[in-house]
Amino acid sequence: MRSLFSLFLFLFAAVATAISASGNRLLAILDNVAEKENYSKFFGDLESRGFQISVEAPKSESLALFHLGERSYDHIIFFPTKAKGLGPNLTPNLLVDFMNAQGNILIALSSDLPTPNSLVSLLAELDIQLPADRTGLVVDHFHYDASSAPDKHDVLLLAPPSALRPDVKDFFGTGAGPDDAIAFPRGVGAVLGSSELLTPVLRAPRTAYSYNPKEQAEAVDDLFAAGEQLSLVSAFQARNSARFTLVGSAEMLQDKWFDAEVSKAAAGEKKMAKTFNREFAKRVSGWTFNEIGVLRVNWIEHHLDEAGATNESNPNIYRIKNDVKYTISLSEYAWTAWNPFTLPGDDALQLEFSMLSPFHRLPLALDAAHSSDSASAYSASLKLPDQHGIFNFAVNYKRPFLSNLEEKNTVSVRHMAHNEWPRSFVISGAWPWIAGLGVTVAGWLAFCALWMYSAPVGGKRETKKTQ
């Protein structure tokens, strides 16, 4: 236990200086360096958070995602490029390998430039669908910025997102004022498949739709998607917790939309508002690059919880129907430090005690006695099932936007030893049988005494016998 603690302190000290929970080497793919100027505030924010940004053109010769089998970068961000393909160093295969090696990717699209083939294939691999022929523009005639797009309606103004479900933590919209709006200029909307790994971060309003400005300028006959089916910013988290974010509009990350003045076209009257883009861009990039929503297991402990027993930590074997206590300590990384992890309102951290299938699935409750400033402990007490075998204490905590936790601790559960059952004299049903034993013993002793020491009665029989 003590060594665990010191290891944990050491880890904590090592991580306190890092910025992202998983490294700070960021690769930005841009057509040319001059274009970087448009995103200077966004890049400035990233640099101030400690990222080392290397800018590369997509077809650059020197670009390599892997060096000697190890990732050369921790995160990649793609900005729209004019090229149709991204060259041999950024094939979809390599990008999938990069994610398999726990690298994170953020892709920003634009409706002005068609999406490169490589990225379309990667998106298809992740079950994200883009409009046909890689060109689409999202417009909304009801929620647009009346000052910059009074006629074309292609700058959408969206309310900052709220929590996806009551049991999911809201990482992206918290703290936004009621008048704040996210500007989504000239962007592409995507349709998400039904995979559990995909989560929409920002959905289009009910009245928005996507159309092809080249072919459907007059009327929309064939609809790609409309309303809330259109996901403007989408998140994907792989099973290995590698993160992927698709931002439909790269322009929303540009300087001119950070803290810009926009006017909502609400029912004729104009209402000025400030954009929430800077904070939103910080949160989206922070989530993608493992600065928020990263969970860590500090330690796991389970022990026999019975009066009079030794109750040592993490034994390998228990008996059926033992009372056992299980405790797990979790931390959540938020921007600069590991904090105690608190469950969102309706959610539950669940412990499964399983052999093939769970026998118990119990909620773990916050255990303040074992929590600290940087970790919170959750514990549950349970009575082991009356089935012997090899069991797992399993915590499988997978939630949208939080990195995946899958912890298994294997223990044997033995059956009752013969001397652990209640004695027969305690069982009332056994009393007649015990009485029978006693009677037999006493009767046998009496018979022995009688057989050996009884004098004959009558005494006249010996004449018969000696004949």
Binding site: V139, H141, D151, K152, H153, D167, S194, S195, E196, R206, T207, Y209, Y211, E218, A219, V220, D221, L223, A226, G227, A267, K321, D346, D347, A348, Q350, E352, P358, F359, R361, L362, P363, K383, P385, D386, K398, R399, I427, S428, A430, W431, P432, I434, A435, G436, G438, V439, V441, A442, G443, A446, C448, A449, L450, M452, Y453, S454, A455, P456, G458
Partner: protein, 287 residues
């Protein structure tokens, strides 16, 4: 394109002065009809953009719902860019948009039947809400208004469409292990009664023996010639029962066996003499 971009703001300025608030999309001549494939009977209803139909329209599995209307911008027939019929499930808010085919004059129509609707909407228990959305570029105010409700009639003979909800990460239902029931004993009174009944057989046996003339009168006669062996022999029988008692209460097998070995040796050694004495009494005719 460039020219139109320059002209548009100018036009807008003009329009703004003339009718900024009044410019809005609307529709006229709206109607829906439900055409049944088999019976060819048609239900037709007029639509009003101000108020939705009071009764839901029912749509059977072979029926086709036709909606037609004339889109108007400020009273003039015109083609809007966005002309959708949006069908919404009331509980989840899930929506399916159907674009209308619109002519230059603003005449628009759309047909939907069961196969066009997503399965989640088909399975809805409540009537579906239908909205008409008309809007376009420029300053004209768009229209998004509920116009009618559709009740989905499924075929009672056909199996309902199967729909499996996709997996979503979240908490799972709690499981409490159901333990097997403990072994049960009969009521204590009954056990006690039979235990006493069993115990009562011992006095009955002894009384029976005494009645038949059983006695221990030869004890002194037996002890006389072989005092040590008789005491040891009978003592070893009692001790053996005591060992069995200790084995039942606390000893294990490895504590029991050596003691049994010792006692049985004593039994054999003393038994030959003691039983020899008993035999001598029998031969003497005293038994």
């Amino acid at each position: 394109m460039r020219i139109s971009q320059c002209i548009a703001p100018a036009l807008l300025l003009l329009a703004a002065g003339a009718a900024q608030a009044a410019s809005a999309w609307g529709f006229d001549d709206g109607s829906i009809s439900v055409v049944a494939k088999k019976s060819a009977e048609t239900v037709k209803e007029k639509l009003n953009q101000k108020a939705p139909l009071s009764k839901p329209v029912s749509l059977g599995n072979t029926d086709t719902l036709k909606l037609s209307l004339t889109a108007k911008d400020n009273g003039k027939g015109k083609r809007p860019h966005q002309a959708f019929l949006v069908i919404q499930e009331q509980d989840s808010g899930l929506e399916a948009p159907f674009p209308l085919t619109v002519k230059e004059t603003g005449k628009a129509a759309v047909q939907i039947s069961h196969k066009d609707l997503p399965i989640q909407l088909l399975l809805s228990a409540k009537p579906l809400k239908a909205f008409v959305v008309l809007a376009s570029f420029g300053s004209a105010q768009g229209l998004s208004t509920p116009v009618f409700e559709v009740k989905i009639e499924t075929d009672a003979n056909a199996p309902p469409p199967a729909y499996e909800e996709p997996l979503r990460y979240g908490k799972k239902p709690e499981i409490q292990h159901v333990f097997r029931a403990d072994a049960k004993s009969p009521p204590k009174v009954i056990s006690l009664f039979f235990a006493l009944a069993v115990l009562a057989t011992l006095p009955a046996l002894l009384i029976g023996w005494i009645y038949l003339g059983g006695n221990v009168n030869h004890l002194s006669k037996a002890i006389g010639p072989a005092p040590l062996s008789h005491a040891t022999f009978f003592g070893s029988i009692v001790a053996m029962e005591f060992v069995f008692f200790m084995y039942y209460t606390s000893w294990n097998l490895f504590q029991t066996l050596p003691v049994i070995a010792v006692i049985s040796a004593a039994t054999v050694l003393s038994g030959t003499k003691a039983l020899g004495e008993v035999q001598s009494r029998r031969l003497a005719g005293e038994r």
